[in-house]
Symmetry: C2
Subunit: 568 residues, 2 copies
Amino acid sequence: MLKENILIARGKKPADLLLKNASYINVFTGEIERQNIAIANGKIVGFGEYEAREEIDVAGQIVTPGLIDAHIHIESSQLVPTEFAKLVLAQGTTAIVADPHEIANVCGMDGIQFMIDSLKNTLLNFKMMLPSCVPATPFETTGAVLSGRDCTREVQKKDIAGLAEFMNIPALLLADEDACRKLQGAIDAQKIIDGHAPSVTGRDLNAYLVAGVRTDHECTTVNEAIEKVAKGMYILMREGSATQDVAVLCKAITPYTRSRFLFCTDDKHAEDIERIGHINHAVRVAIEAGLSPIDAIICATINAAICYGFYNKGAVAIGYDADLAVFDSLQTMRCTMTIVDGKVVAKNGKAIVQFKGVEDKKVVTSMHIQEVTASTFNLPCETKRARVIEVFAKTLFTEEKIITIIPNATDIVLPKGILKIAVLERHKSTGNIAVALLSGITLKNGAIAQTIAHDSHNCIVLGDNNKDMALAVNTLQKVGGGIAIVYANKVHTLPLEVAGLMTAVAENQYIAQMKKMVQLSKDLGVQADIDVFMTLSFMALPVIPKLKMTDKGLFDVMQFAYTKVAVE
Amino acid sequence: MLKENILIARGKKPADLLLKNASYINVFTGEIERQNIAIANGKIVGFGEYEAREEIDVAGQIVTPGLIDAHIHIESSQLVPTEFAKLVLAQGTTAIVADPHEIANVCGMDGIQFMIDSLKNTLLNFKMMLPSCVPATPFETTGAVLSGRDCTREVQKKDIAGLAEFMNIPALLLADEDACRKLQGAIDAQKIIDGHAPSVTGRDLNAYLVAGVRTDHECTTVNEAIEKVAKGMYILMREGSATQDVAVLCKAITPYTRSRFLFCTDDKHAEDIERIGHINHAVRVAIEAGLSPIDAIICATINAAICYGFYNKGAVAIGYDADLAVFDSLQTMRCTMTIVDGKVVAKNGKAIVQFKGVEDKKVVTSMHIQEVTASTFNLPCETKRARVIEVFAKTLFTEEKIITIIPNATDIVLPKGILKIAVLERHKSTGNIAVALLSGITLKNGAIAQTIAHDSHNCIVLGDNNKDMALAVNTLQKVGGGIAIVYANKVHTLPLEVAGLMTAVAENQYIAQMKKMVQLSKDLGVQADIDVFMTLSFMALPVIPKLKMTDKGLFDVMQFAYTKVAVE
C-alpha cells in the first residue's frame, strides 16, 4: 500500500477517488483552499490534477476533516454503537471519544467490551475511555463496581485510551486511596485522564490538575474556561440534548487559546442528532455565536485529534486518513457527504452503509427483578405530613415540598397532583425498593417505568396507581429493560434489551418508536414542556440537589443522607 | 507522590520550591502572567500564595517552559551526552530529540544504545530517534548497516521514539523495497517519522508525505515552509553552527501556522553553544527577525512537546513537569537559571550538576587502521593534467579545477597552493584508501587528520607532505580517533575516543582543547575564514556537489560516479 501510494502521489498510477473542485478548510493555514483532493487506499495522496478511477464533483460545497466528538456517552442515544454510528456519520462525524459509563454501571467490563467490539464493526473511528466512577456514589446499588485495582489493570489495555471523566471530586481532593489508585494507574500507563469539574476553581482546581486530569467538559462560563485553559486544560465545549454551553464558551477563544478548545455532546438523543445534527450542530452554534467558521472547524477536528491522539486524522492534508465531511455551507452545516477511510459512507444526512451488530449474551440479561404486585408499591405513612420531591420543567434540580396527608398504615391515598415514584434494584435481585412521592408532573390513570436511571440504571417507575406501576415494571422485566408506559390499561414498550439502555433495532425504527412513546406520555397527561423520560432518568442520581431517590431510599442531597417520606 | 501533591496543591502542606514574583510565559493564553510558581515532587503544583521549604525570587526575569531542541545530532558537539547535557541545560534547554546518525554509522545499534544509556544518566529529557539512512550512500564504507529489517525491529523498542530524518529521497520516490520497509516499520509501530527534504515540492513532496514523513528541518524559504505546513508537516527551524534558517523561516508564522513551527539546531559545536547559546539563541534570532517573543517561546516549547509526545512538558501549567528556564530578558535570552524535575541544574550559564559517564568498550574501539607510512600517500599521476577539489570559505559545495602538473609515476610533486587529501577506511581494516588533490586551503609543513567525516566517519587527512600525513593518521589510530595536527614536526591531538567522534572529558576542558586546535590550524596557515575541521568533515559526503572523496575514491556528485585525479 505504501509503495502504491507513493507512485499514485507522484501521478504514476491513478488514484481511487478524486474530489473535484473542492473548497476545503486547511486547519494548518486557516485558509479555505480550492483544489481537487486525490484519495487512494484510505489516504489523502495529493492536491491538484490527478487521474482517478472515480470522480465526485463537490463544487460549491465545503470540505472539512471528519468531525470529532471529544466526549460522548453513546448510551444516551439509546442505540447500540452499530446503529449510533450510522446516525453520527450521516452528520459528518468520523471519530468519537466514547465514555461507556452507563453500560459499565450495569455490566462492568463486559459492557465496555461490548461497546469496543461493536464500534470495531463500524467505520466510525473511536477512542474508548475507561469509566472512572463506577459506582458514581455509594448510595445506590450498581450492577458492577470498578475499583482502583480494576481500573489500574484495565487502563493498561491497548483498546483503552484513557481514564474517563473523573467525577468524584470530593474523593480526589481528600486524596482518597482508591481515587488516587485509579488516577495513578492512568498516569503510569501514560494515558489521558478526562475531567468533570463544574465550577472547580483556585487551589481545588490546582489539586485536580496535579492529579493528572487534562480535560473538562463541564465549563459554563468564559472565566471558568480561561482559568482552566491557563492552567493547562483542554476545554470540551458541550452541545448535547440536556446541556448547551457552546454559545457561551466559544467567547473564550482567541488565536492563542484556540488550540485548547474542542467540541463534545456528552449526552445526545438519537432524535436530536437526526433532527439538528451532531458536532456539525455544535459548529453551527459556535459560528452563530460569532466564532469564525475556520476556528470552529479547527476545534471540531485537529484539536480533538491532537488532544486524544488520533494520529493522521483531523486535517485535510497529505498522508492523512481520508476521513472527510462535505457540507452545503458553513452557515447551515448540512452534511451532504461523509467519507471514511476513502469510502463514501453517508449522503445527504443518511448513512449508506450498514454495520453488523454484536450479539453478546452478557449484555442482554441485565434485568433481575422478581415479579411485583400492586402491593409492592404500598407506601404506609402514619404521620400527617409527608415529604414530596418537587420537579420542574427544564432543570434537573428538585425541591422538597411538605404536604398534608391522611395517615394510613397500609398505603397512602395520593392527594391531587401527587404521584408515586419508586426505584427497584434490577441488577442483583436484592429486592431493594424505595417508594416515595413526587409532584410537578401530571399523569392520569397510568404509569411510566424505565431502566434508564443515572448512574446505576435501576428500574424507576412513576404512576398514580399501584396496579399500573406493577404492570409497567413486570413488563420491563419481560422485555429485558427499556421504557414501558401503561395507558388506558394497555402497556406499550420500547425495549432497550442491551443493558436496559440501548436497542439494536435500526436507528430510524427506534426514532419512530421513541416518538410514539413521547406521544403516549403526553396522552397520559405529562405537560408539554416536560421530557418525562429525561426527568426520570436523573431522579435516581443522588448528587444533584435537593431530593432524589435510589433503590436504597429517599435521599437528601444537601444533607448527604437518606431521609423519609413521613414527616414527624 | 500523587496524594502528597494533591494536598500541597490545596495548601495543606508546604511545597518544595516557590519561584517568587515570576513573570512566566503562558503558552496556552499567549500572555505573560505574574504569579509565584509552586513546585513539589518535580511538578508545578500551584500559582499564587503558597508556603514552600525553599524560595527563589525571580522578580524582573522571565520564566519559560524548558526549551526543546526538536532535532540534534549530539555528536556534532564532540562531547558525550553526559557532558553535552551540561552545556545545553545551562542555556535553558531541558529536552532534546536526538538523532544518533553519526555514531550509528560507526557503531550501529551499540552506538545508539550508548547514547540512550548516557542520556538516561543525565537530567536532560530526550526522545531517541532511529537513524534511517545508515549508510547514507552506497559509495562509502561505514562501520555499520541498518537495513530495513533492522529498522523495523529496532523502531518498535520502547526507547526509540521514531524514525530519524529520512534522507534517501530518491529511494523513497522510487518506492524502493528497503526504504519502504523502514518507513512501514515506523508506521506500524505508530511512531513519528522525521523528514529531511530540502527543496522537495509538488508531487514529490506528496509522495514523501504519503510515506508517513511528518517533519522537515531543511526548509530554507518561506514558500517552501508554507507548502509543507499546508500539506501537514511540522517545520523545524534550524539554527546550528553551519546552517541558520530561523530569520527567514519565522516569517512564515501566522496565528494559524504557528503551532506547526519548532526550533532545532541539527548540528551545533560545543564552543558555539557555550558562546551564543542553544535553542535560546534560535529564539533570540527569531525575535530579532520580528517574531513576537511569545510566539518564539511557543515554538521552542509546547509545539515541540506536542509534535514529539513530551507529555506534561512544554508549558508552565499545573500538573506539568517542573522543567523551567529563567532568562534575564526576552531580548537577550541569557539563561540565568534552569530547573529540571523541580531541581535547579544550572545557574548563570553554567551547569551546577555532574552526570556519570557511561563506560562502554563497544564504542571506544572504533579505530582499525593498519600503520601507514609516508609512501601510503604516494599519488602517481602520469598525465600532464590533474583534477583538483577546489574548496571555498563558508560553503560545503566544491568545484572541480583542472591543473597542469609534471607527470610522475611514483608520486606527484605538489604545485604551489595544492594539498593532498586522503580518506582511509577505519572501521573494518579493509585498507581502503583514496588520495587526491585539493586547493583553496593553505597549509605549510604539516597535516591535519580527523575521524569526523560525514556520514561514514572514516579517517580524512589533509597535508602538504606525506610524512606528516602519516604521522597524523598513525597518531589518531593510537588515541582512538579524534583530531590530530602535525605542526613543526610535532603532533598535537584532540582525542575523540568515543567512536572517533566524541570525548568524555569535561565540556569546558574540551572547549579549551578545541580552541587550541583551531589556533594550531591557523598557525599552520589555514585562512581565518575557513573552519578547516568542518570543511574536512564534509569532504567525504558524496551528496553535496561537486567533487568529494570517500575511502573508495574521488567522487563526482553531479555524475554520481567515481572519477580520477589523472585527466587524460
